[in-house]
């Protein structure tokens, strides 16, 4: 019988490794009872549940979470993976998209150039407090998890942050516009440090361009930033309504593949690295934990995102001035994982 066709987007980052693993292993994951079969490499896959084909996936690569949000808005995709803040801003603007589940936690690093004078987090913190000029810290997108975690942590530690040139502060945040620019930013010395998602910290270290100062989940206060939200799986409301079973199957696939990845770290890293075209050694260093479970801590973290995005004036629509509790209903749909 005809099965529905669903368009899925993901990004070339190890954060989305489970999906890439599902696509590269295909029938190799048959034991899970839910797997993909390749139709066109990297572009088209059939989704099987218990030996039965339930959907055809058309796979699209996006460049960033915000682009994923735009693709949703323009109805060019049905399912997508991207950062939580990107989905929040989309929802704020009225794009009918719901967050179905997390995809991973952690996997964000603070990196300095390899010739940087700072050898540890404490030295770096010292420098932040004592330097007479702002320290330049880069990030790849204003609504990305790395930036928000970093800025919140700075706030918690009484370190002043600015984005305006020439304004006096301890940290001057530089928008590097794309993860592509993270590594070159180190070699050209345009920033003193940056915060970025895996695999870029590992890549930078592997290629000798920088050193990883710390994993952001270890930022003080201890525990606050672990299992913090980053990328999520989201779907358009229309798709949820029309193809609920397919969405359910997809979420199940991600849940199962996530645990496979956690259990087979080495192999998963190798597959993911091969998919993106980065050295496997770099990917293997990742500290990322894959999960589709929206834990307590995760939801608290989502609340932090809300607050910061609102404070930054990123909300222009229905989310403006709201707290997570007010919008949770519309934003989340965890029915597929619970």
């Amino acid at each position: 019988a005809e099965v529905p066709t669903v368009r899925v987007s993901y990004i070339f980052t190890t954060h989305h490794e489970p999906f890439m693993v599902a696509m590269s292993k295909c029938e190799g994951l048959k034991d899970q009872g839910i797997w993909l079969e390749q139709v066109v490499p990297k572009e088209k896959y059939d989704l099987f549940v218990d030996g039965e084909k339930v959907a055809r996936l058309n796979v699209v690569v996006a460049k960033s979470g915000s682009e994923t949000a735009v693709l949703f808005a323009q109805k060019h995709i049905d399912l997508g993976m991207g950062s939580l803040p990107a989905m929040m801003t989309a929802r704020d603007k009225g794009t009918p998209v719901k967050v179905l589940c997390p995809l991973h936690a952690d996997g964000i690093g603070l990196v300095v150039p390899s010739n940087s004078p700072y050898g540890s987090w404490d030295e770096f913190l010292d420098a932040l407090r004592n330097s007479d000029k702002p320290i330049k810290v880069g990030y790849h997108s204003p609504t990305s998890a790395p930036r928000i975690i970093f800025e919140s942590a700075m706030f918690d530690n009484d370190i002043s942050v600015t984005q305006k040139m020439g304004e006096d502060a301890d940290v001057f945040l530089v928008d590097l516009k794309s993860t592509s620019n993270l590594i070159p930013a180190l070699t050209s010395g345009q920033v003193d440090a940056w915060v970025g998602p895996d695999p870029f910290p590992e890549m930078a270290a592997f290629r000798g361009a920088g050193k990883v100062l710390m994993d952001l989940r270890d930022l003080p206060p201890a525990g606050k930033w672990s299992n913090f939200p980053c990328c999520v799986v989201a779907a358009r409301e229309e798709t949820i309504a029309s193809d609920g079973p397919v969405v359910k199957a997809f979420v199940d696939l991600m849940t199962k593949t996530c645990s496979w990845c956690n259990d087979n770290k080495e192999e998963a890293a190798t597959l993911g690295a091969g998919w993106i075209g980065i050295p496997a050694e770099a990917a293997k260093k990742s500290t990322i934990v894959y999960t589709t479970d929206p834990s307590e801590n995760w939801i608290t973290g989502a609340g932090v995102f809300m607050t910061y995005l609102d404070k930054m004036g990123k909300f222009k629509g229905s989310f403006a001035g709201k707290r997570l509790e007010d919008v949770q209903e519309g934003l989340f749909d965890f029915s597929f994982v619970r």
Binding site: R7, F12, V39, V40, K42, E43, K44, R56, V60, V61, A62, K63, E67, V70, L71, Q74, H76, S178, T179, S180, I183, P184, T187, S188, M203, A204, R207, A209, G274, W275, I276, G277, I278
Partner: protein, 278 residues
Amino acid sequence: MIRSGGALFAPMVVPFIFLVLWNVVAVQVGNDLILPGLREVGTLLFHPGTDVISMGSMAGNVAVSLVRVLVGYSLAVVVAIPLGLIMGASKRIYGLLNMFLGLFRPIPPLAWVPLVLAWFGVASFATLVGIEEGQWYIWLNNLKLSMLFIIFIGAFYPVLSNTIYGVSNVPKILVESSRVLGASERDLFVKVLLPAAAPSIVTGMRVGLGVAWMCLVSAEMLPGSLSGVGYLITHAYTVARTDVVVAGMVSIGLVGAFMDWGFRVVEARCFGWQRLSR
């Protein structure tokens, strides 16, 4: 003899110095994220068939780009030449359309990218034709509508302008002397205007292909694209493989130069009469 030998090699001197300098600086810098050595780039270029950063081979990516450019470009040529012929021959139609077409001319093809993405997204020729599987799908799906649109816009105006120019600059004397010999309106078109404008049209086609190829580099930065030499260099940049970036640039340059050379050969072969009859 010695003198002509010198004249032959003189043009090589500066490029040679440049290559040596490149290598010296690359060794000095010692950071192939900033400047890869001559050897790394050379290796990539001389083994165009091997897989690069999981993105397929250099040759394969160049081939994909070429197919894209040629399809978008052919569309532009097929639309622009007849339109140009008509606009060049009829002052009324020219008056009607020129201003309208002129509205879009100053918008750089790349500025269309965001809008075109909103329109077409990742739809491709495959979507249009309805082919969903197999080898054909793989080829057709590389022809994203958004990319074709950008290439189309890039190639359209040079071809159009040159066609109009060519037709409207056919010496009146050629038209009149043919009419006196008994040419009908149709004869004038086929036997006088078209051949007389051909050199200008071909020049427009050459320029248009150059612009189209240039637009490709950016068009391949569009989402949904998983291949093409433009995509290859941006992705290589992302994973900090500057040697692949430079090899990609060289490939782009070589292909561009080669296409231009091809057209110039055609121009020189077929339109000697144009250059030589002052």
